[in-house]
Amino acid sequence: MSVAKKICLIGRFAVGKTSLVKQFIEKQFGEKYKTTVGVSISTKNLTVENKDISLVIWDIAGFEQDGHYAHYMRGVHGLIWVLDGTEPESFKILETINNSLPEIKQVPSVCFINKCDLVDEWVIKESEINSLKEFNYAVYKTSAKTGENVEAGFTKLASLLLSSL
């Protein structure tokens, strides 16, 4: 019997949340940036460690408006923090949201540092990535474009959700 779990992707605008979902579900990538307004919800069924899980993926608009995400986070089971390796500003979201919604610290989470294909524009240093360890998240350098680590990251979160049952 498959279990359905609600997971939310959260991060600054233009970090690639929608593209990550598209890559994970459709194995596709579109070059053109189209901003998300509100939320898009999609599902994907996985089998992890011989257990079936249905991930109900909430792709939420960029976190620029204070508190607009509270509606979407209700009853969330897992989180994917999406940061952008080419945009240092995107790292601030972790602290901001953890401070405004302290209860989500208990939610199983993974962290994607996206756009790892943009080697020349990558500005995040290893020391900054290591500093994320304080949040106790599994960190993946991902590329929504090439698909690098996308499946692995979602699967890791699915595994965390199954182990928390």
Binding site: F13, V37, V39, V56, H71, Y72
Partner: protein, 492 residues
């Protein structure tokens, strides 16, 4: 009929757009469908079905309390606000069409985000450029410091080489070997001066020091400087001025430029003559340096003022920075240096134009005079280089001046306690100690003996600063016999 509770809810929430509503049992079975789901691109759900079979994306939602999901993207063009409300024992899932407002919001948000992305990109590029600029400035500064230090360090031994050479030539003026050493030492001095200037970042904003000088004396001093090299090659050198009397120029810088040009003229001539003319008018001074040398190819004429460009790269002569420095110097003192004409195998004419300016305020207290009697006067020389001390003693041997030397400021202080001194001549760096600190201590002890600084830094700005700091004068290293005497008689 739409239930009153739904109508009231929509009214309270000011939701006026199209909607449809599912009435659900407590087991979340669909009891009724109100409105037209087709408007939002959904097929009408059948009554009796579980809502989660119709909308599986809401499977994990908790239906024990009311909730709201704004701007739920049903599809690319269909967007709605979803409300789950519980009234009495009835549950309603309401879908309000937000497609139109979504389109507008999406458009503005897209524009704002793209604008933000571009701004961030530009900001990062600007930061990168700023970092690169700072890095470049730092390395330029380091390079300038290194060149300045090297040139300064080279200046001290050169003082001894040139000085002792002059002393030996006084005894044996026809000694060819000594003449060669002397000539090359002067050339080396010239190279060091140019290199030092090349390394200076502030050449463009260099302060000028305008002095009044007799034009014939000035031209004569230039000829004297270049004469040994010209004689060596049997080149006739001459100077001519359109008028007699005085001119107001930055003597040091103008001399540097003209010596550079005259050196080149001699260097690139194998026979014939080199001539320097000065035309004085109300607005400007025009110096023309003409030679009968190898000339410059038309193709090369535009590049000769670039650094490291040389007329003949295979002749092993020169560093290629002389003209570059000269042009920068000319610009720095408000003038203009250009190649007026040049013909291959006929010769070249360079023109230096300088504006007529008022002389600067003279910081020196006394006018130079070689006639001051040095009898019964005492000079204290401080330098940590014994060779320099010996040289100054040797230079002054034939005068009636009493010369006392000290290898450190500590020694100098002991001497000053016991002896009346009329003038102190000190190097800038003596061991690890600095002359400005020594001077400050001296003045604190109410000692008002004039102090002249010896420095290998030819910058007018630095000289000005030393004088503002209390030094009576600055003598540039390397110096010759005459320059030393002139400095002493001026300041004692």
């Amino acid at each position: 009929m739409i239930p009153e509770v739904v109508k009231n809810f929509l009214l309270q929430n000011k939701e006026k757009q199209g909607f449809f509503c599912l009435q659900l049992t407590n087991d979340l079975l669909i009891e009724h469908v109100y409105g037209k789901p087709q408007q939002l691109g959904l097929s009408p759900p059948k009554k009796g079905l579980k809502v989660l079979e119709v909308l599986p994306v809401f499977l994990p939602e908790m239906y024990n309390e009311e909730f709201e999901i704004p701007f739920y993207n049903l599809s690319e063009h269909s967007v709605c606000n979803i409300y789950f409300i519980k009234k009495h024992k009835e549950n309603y899932l309401i879908f309000v069409d937000k497609s139109e407002i979504f389109q507008v919001t999406q458009k503005y948000q897209q524009f704002a985000h793209e604008d933000n992305i571009s701004k961030n990109k530009f900001k990062r590029i600007a930061q990168e450029l700023e970092r690169a600029k700072q890095k470049l400035n730092k390395s330029n500064q380091e390079k300038a410091t290194l060149i300045a230090m090297l040139s300064h360090e080279l200046g001290t031994p050169l003082t001894s080489i040139l000085g002792y050479c002059e002393l030996l030539l006084e005894e044996d003026e026809n000694n060819h070997n000594l003449q060669v050493i002397h000539r090359n030492s002067i050339y080396l001095q010239h190279l060091i001066e140019n290199t030092l200037l090349f390394g200076k970042t502030e050449v463009d904003s260099m302060s000028t020091h305008i002095e009044t000088i007799n034009v014939e004396d000035f031209l004569g001093s230039l000829v004297d400087t270049i004469l040994p090299a010209a004689l060596e090659k049997d080149i006739f050198i001459s100077a001519q001025s359109s008028e007699q009397g005085t001119i107001n120029i930055d003597v040091t810088r103008t001399k540097q430029i003209l010596i550079n040009l005259l050196n080149n003229a001699v260097k690139y001539s194998n026979h014939g003559s080199v001539k320097i003319c000065c035309h004085v008018s109300k607005e400007q001074y025009e110096f023309l340096i003409s030679d009968t040398g190898i000339g410059i190819d038309v193709a090369q004429q535009n590049n000769i003022f670039n650094p490291w460009e040389r007329v003949n790269k295979n002749d092993g002569k020169g560093s290629g920075i002389g003209l570059f420095i000269s042009q920068k110097l000319a610009k720095a003192i408000g003038g203009q240096l250009q190649l007026k004409e040049s013909t291959k195998n006929v010769g070249s004419v360079f023109q230096l134009l300088l504006p007529v300016k008022e002389p600067s305020v003279n910081h020196e207290n006394k006018t130079p005079s070689q006639t001051i009697c040095l009898q019964a006067k005492t000079l204290l020389v401080i330098d940590d280089d014994q060779d320099v001390l010996d040289l100054i003693e040797a230079f002054l041997e034939k005068t009636e001046l009493k010369v006392i030397t000290a290898l450190s400021f500590l020694d100098a202080e002991s001497i000053l306690i016991k002896t009346n001194v009329d003038l102190i001549l000190t190097d800038l760096n003596v061991g690890a100690a600095k002359a400005p600190t020594f001077l400050k201590e001296l003045r604190n002890d109410k000692c008002d003996v004039p102090v002249v600084l010896m420095s290998a830094m030819p910058s007018n700005k630095a000289k000005q600063q030393f004088i503002e700091n209390g030094f009576n004068n600055v003598m540039l290293k390397p110096f010759n016999h005459n320059q030393l005497l002139k400095t002493i008689t001026t300041n004692i």
